[in-house]
Amino acid sequence: MSESELSLAMPHGETMEASPFRIQSKKLVIWLFIVADAATFGAMLFAYGYLRAGSPDWVRPFAFAPTIINAMVMTLVLLTSSLTMLAAVAAAQAGRREAAVRWLGVTTLLGIGFAVLHLREWFNMFAAGWSLSANPKGGPVLFGASFFSITGLHLLHVIGGVIAMTVVALMFRRGRLDAAHVETTGLYWHFVDLVWMFVFPLVYLMNAR
């Protein structure tokens, strides 16, 4: 993008200084949000590490079937949703509005699929006696606290992303938003995927029996 495109015309013929990053402000804002949110997730994962290292009788409750298999399927769903989001962004940037909305719809459905799989796993754990403050295996209760906090925060991001994608798809279809909005929504969704790339090995695989 040229400098002139980034310079905003002022009422009296002046121009604002161009962004040193040469990107739109909405994209810069979503990147700043992503960096701040990454630090939040980092802090939570380090806190989990503290708790785990400080608990000699830490439990490893996850069996390969069904928990690890379920988490692998969830990972595959989320990775695939990133791919479909890329297709949505590419279609939006190429001006293929209907295709972009379709791909956003597929991504939203994959996001819902991830959330359903996650909630099903949670409810199975609740049924087995796990909670934020209970450990049916007899070890430290901190496992439930850290597991549900980390995966809960991530699930909240997934649900937020699903809502955002639905709103953006509807408004983009009506021409009220442009391709840059689809791109910034895509950046958020890829970030949610990226965080899971750390949650899956650290929270699931490190606790596999």
Partner: protein
């Protein structure tokens, strides 16, 4: 309104990266059941997750195709913050020796 778009790679490269990410996830699971010592497993999983994150940032999030200044202003400070958090990690070992006094 003109829409500035980030020139990104084509769908073929996206699919290649996607397959690469799936293979890394599969290797993480394989490593988990190779019964490695916990410390070794943690280091291996963190290294693989970092490779996944780098691939996601560079290709899916197009950071490779954005102005370099954006990368240098965002990623090194984030890594610095995370390393500072990790710097406190050693204090966790102290926790294993801390117990409430007997009543």
């Amino acid at each position: 309104m003109t829409t500035p778009s980030t020139p990104g790679p084509g769908i073929k490269l996206y699919i290649t990266v996607w397959i690469g990410l799936i293979l890394i996830v599969a290797s993480e699971v394989a490593l988990t059941y190779a019964r490695l010592p916990s410390g070794t497993l943690l280091a291996a999983l963190l290294a693989l997750a970092s490779v996944e994150a780098a691939l996601g940032l560079m290709y899916f999030m197009h950071l490779r195709y954005e102005p370099r200044l954006l990368f240098w202003c965002l990623i090194p400070p984030l890594i610095f913050v995370l390393l500072m958090l990790n710097h406190l990690w050693r204090d966790a070992h102290r926790l294993s020796t801390l117990r409430f006094p007997p009543t």
